[in-house]
Amino acid sequence: MPRGRWKRWVKPMRSIEAVRLLLLLLGCALVNGQSAPAPNPPAGYAGSEACAICHEDIAKAFASTPHNTVDTNKKRGWEGRACEACHGAAQKHTESASAEDVRNPGKLAATATDKICMSCHLNEPTHIGRLQSSHMKDQVACTTCHKVHADGGKGLVVRGAAAINSLCAGCHTNAWAQFQKPFHHKLPEGAMSCVDCHNPHGSIRPRSTNAFAANEPGCFSCHGDKRGPFTFEHAPVRFESCSTCHEPHGSANPRMLAQQEVRFVCLTCHANLPTVKTGALGVVPPSFHDLRSPRFQNCTVCHQKIHGSHVDRNLLK
């Protein structure tokens, strides 16, 4: 193309480019005007926007999770740097793009992972029983159950009975096997989940079981008719709770009992002579209880209010 002709074409193109550039700048100014500019991150930090360039999917999902408040709330001290609140300063990582240059809490020792989580979550009611929980004692890190980024952010808190049960059964395979017995709480059916009875963060009650009305066994949340107080209590219910007689996860015995027949559940405790002090509670039944007769082979046929009675001292009605 002749030189003069080229200039003739370039000049109008330059003016078109200039107009486009102006429009672009104007657009950027308008966009910036709509959202407050993110504060400049401190030295060593890259800022969440830099993370989002490569981890677009994670950033998009993260925006819909509760953790997003870390990015937007000034008071928490991590405004615009939510990613680095857990992953540490990531400027070096953004330059090298190497996974070695950024912290992955999911791969740290449990103590170190928990330390990161607890820097925000320690002082919450959820963790009131943390120090006594078996999860803490066995160094089960928060991220074992709370997958911060998994499943588009939904893995942060697993919801739904089936999903919760599946998560717990992943480690507690022994417990899950007990639910395959014929008489069980309805977890495999999806009517209940493990957290209906257990608080995975720990509780004041044994085996991290939930409490009802502050400090009563969580069993009463559903079995309110067994709560009492009864005029005539059955001591094991109060002294050692329901698991004295029942297998709470599941059993091959009806009513999830610990033995195949009711009489053996009762007689293993009710075997002390009233005249002999053994230190254990439970007195042998009077002699008219002839175990050879079918009438006396299930104690609860007569002692039907076995969990406690409002009416009868012998728990007969």
Partner: protein, 687 residues
């Protein structure tokens, strides 16, 4: 409760319909993201490739969330029960699934892009349409404003098992004298205000109710009569409080209360009921011709909860809680019965009885715990904790009994007082030592002690005052070993020496060991094992309790190629329980030994096959189930195989069909076995 069911179902269907309004404006998030992308035009294109390389952990890979305002699925279908072979009552006691059209499941999320009244609403509903377990759950939240949760469950509670309580079986009568056919319903609402803030008020309401009918016994001296009953009870729980969450400390203050009522009735309106015994007294056979017994039980309680955590320095954390509840009940019981009845204590026959009783009980219950975590060195943590739990029941009852016989009448009155108290205390100290970054060791000591007593006055023929106490010294140990990301091992052990126990079967001298191991053999294969053992001995004379239980499980997840073609997950568990304890036979006080044995094997498995495309469809086939078999004191087998086929019809609809088999059998109670086939087919609508 029918209207509530309809209301909840209505919500489940109307929510997605209501949300089908087109979004008025694009999500602000998108604008922001675009702006960010524009602002960084010189970002390294290679970085994206590198960071998403295998260095990133596979499970953390998120599923890109679609920008749709509605996401989720609804499963609608029809189930056929081909019939139950064997015991229908046992089938209903264990399975209870029936035929008919069903809303099998719904799980969807509605997002409001403009964040007007809510940010997101999650709805889950399962098992509607005459199902034994129907659930509905709703979460609605708006950032910094509210977090609302509603939960409803309707659970069929059916239990008729003659082997459990049938004294008449030898006479050819199959009947469970302690059976019921009820529904338990649970409703729960919880509202947190200003979530994410420093001061968070919250309110909640829970209701648990039970209603239905059943069979029970009316116990009269020298005989007991199986009779029908109606059951109706409910508990309401109201609570509210405030959470104060600050960087260095947190406090929660909560006040709550419950109301309870129980209106059980036991009745017989016609016919002659000869009861469980055919024997005669003085030549007369006992019978019951009329009965009405009504329980009027009303209860209420208040409780106070105070929780506290603090981390005043970097090396010290505190926690403490104080819990107090005081439930109480008032009872008015009345009973009228007629027939040829007998009062053993006075050796008199009577033809009718009126029995009235009023009673009340109060159970103050105080619990408290406190503890601290001290980190004196980088690798050492010391955790000290203390716990106390004490409840004291005091109650009293007054009764009037009027007996009428052949021209005579007799009135008996009685006053009874009852108390029960138990105090439990625990003190524990644990030391955690991070030997290396891969190995943590811990050791500790726990001291547990308590006392309990129960008294009923005036004394009767049984021991009317009992008391017990116990103490245990428990040694604790454990380790966590994670030599690499692919292997982890956790083990813990307890050994205790007891001094006293409340009951003969209580923990006394016990040893407990538990170990779990996980091994990620390859990217597609992971194995895990779970082992636990508990042994407990009570050596006291006359008890000789020897208990042991062993349970081992092995599970694997195998998903070659990320499960694109097929995957399998399965587990095997073995359980071995032995319990030997001596007891006294009531009729002659001879000493015998109760041997309870249970050896159980459980297998679960699920195989998923993603079949190749056929006519543009990619069907998915699933097969597996659960298999349980046990031997010992109550040999039982329980099989639940299943097979499922799912075929996508288009992007939003798939067809599924499922077959399940339930088989149950008991070697000692053959009449309680059953088997049943269930076939379900339906459509899944997705968005």
């Amino acid at each position: 409760m029918k209207p509530l069911n309809t209301f909840l179902l209505g919500i489940a269907f109307l929510l997605p319909m209501a949300a089908q309004q087109p979004a008025a404006a694009p999500a602000p998030r998108e604008e922001k993201k675009d702006a960010k992308a524009d602002a960084k035009p010189d970002a390294k294109p290679d970085a994206k490739v590198d960071v998403k390389s295998p260095a990133a952990p596979a499970p953390e890979s998120p599923v890109p969330s679609s920008e749709s305002w509605l996401t989720g699925s609804i499963d609608l279908g029809y189930r056929w029960n081909t019939g139950v072979g064997g015991s229908m009552d046992t089938y209903r006691s264990i399975i209870n699934l029936g035929s008919g059209p069903k809303l099998l499941g719904a799980d969807f999320t509605i997002a409001d892009p403009q964040h007007r009244f809510f940010d997101q609403i999650h709805v889950r509903a399962y098992g509607w349409g005459g199902e034994p377990y129907s659930t509905f759950h709703l979460d609605a939240k708006k950032a910094k404003l509210y977090d609302f949760r509603a939960d409803y469950r309707d659970i069929a509670y059916f239990n008729v098992l003659p082997s459990y309580a049938d004294p008449l079986l030898s006479r050819g009568i199959v009947l469970d004298e302690q059976s019921f056919d009820t529904r338990r319903r649970f409703t729960s609402f919880a509202l947190d205000l200003l979530p994410g803030g420093r001061i968070i008020p919250y309110f909640a309401f829970d209701r648990d109710s039970n209603s239905g009918r059943g069979a029970t016994t009316f116990v009269s001296d020298s005989n007991e009569y199986p009779v029908p009953n109606t059951l109706r009870d409910s508990t309401n729980l109201y609570r509210g409080g405030v959470r104060l969450e600050f960087r260095r400390f947190h406090a929660t203050l909560e006040e709550g209360g419950t109301t309870f009522k129980d209106d059980q009735r036991v009745f017989q309106t016609s016919g002659i009921n000869f009861g469980n015994t055919t024997s005669t007294i003085s030549g007369q056979r006992l019978d019951l011709t009329n009965l009405l017994a009504a329980y009027g039980i009303r209860g209420n309680s208040t409780y106070t909860k105070a929780l506290f955590t603090a981390s005043p320095t970097s090396w010290l954390d505190f926690y403490g809680q104080f819990l107090y509840s005081e439930p109480q009940t008032d009872v008015h019981f009345q009973q009228t019965d007629a027939g040829n009845l007998f009062l053993q204590s006075q050796f008199v026959f009577y033809t009718s009885q009126q029995y009235l009783l009023s009673s009340s009980a109060k159970l103050p219950h105080t619990s408290a715990s406190a503890g601290a975590e001290i980190r004196p060195m980088r690798r050492v943590r010391i955790i000290e904790s203390w716990l106390t739990d004490r409840l004291h029941n005091s109650s009293g009852a007054g009764s009037t009994q009027i007996l009428a016989g052949s021209g005579t009448s007799q009135q008996l009155t009685a006053l009874l007082a009852s108390t029960l108290a138990t105090n439990y205390n625990q003190n524990e100290i644990d030391l955690y030592f991070d030997a290396t970054s891969k190995l943590m060791l811990r050791g500790g000591y726990r001291y547990v002690w308590g006392d309990g007593n129960q008294t009923i006055l005036p004394a009767a023929e049984l021991s009317s005052s009992v008391q017990g106490n116990f103490s245990r010294n428990v040694g604790l140990g454990g380790l966590t070993f994670r030599p690499s990301q692919k292997i982890s091992l956790t083990a813990e052990a307890e050994a205790a020496a007891g001094d006293g126990a409340y009951f003969r079967t209580s923990l006394y001298n016990y040893q407990k060991v538990r170990a779990q191991a996980r091994y990620q053999a390859t990217n597609s294969l992971s194995l895990s094992g779970d082992f636990s053992v508990l042994t407990n001995q009570n050596p006291l004379a006359g008890t000789k309790y020897d208990f042991s239980s062993y349970q081992e499980s092995l599970s694997l997840v195998w998903a070659p190629g990320g499960g694109k073609s097929w995957d399998f997950q399965g587990s095997y568990s073995r359980y071995d329980l032995k319990s030997d304890i001596s007891y006294l036979v009531p009729q002659d006080l001879t000493q015998q030994v109760d041997h309870y044995r249970e050896r159980a094997h459980t297998v679960t498995g699920l195989f998923d096959l993603n079949a190749p495309h056929i006519w543009g469809r990619a069907p998915k086939f699933t097969a597996g189930g659960s298999f349980f078999i046990s031997s010992g004191s109550r040999p039982t087998n329980y099989f639940q195989p299943l097979a499922r086929l799912s075929v996508p019809i288009n992007k939003h609809v798939s067809w599924f069909s499922e077959w399940r088999y339930y088989g149950y059998g008991e070697a000692l109670y053959l009449y309680e076995g059953f088997r049943s086939h269930l076939v379900t087919t339906g459509l899944r609508f997705m968005r």
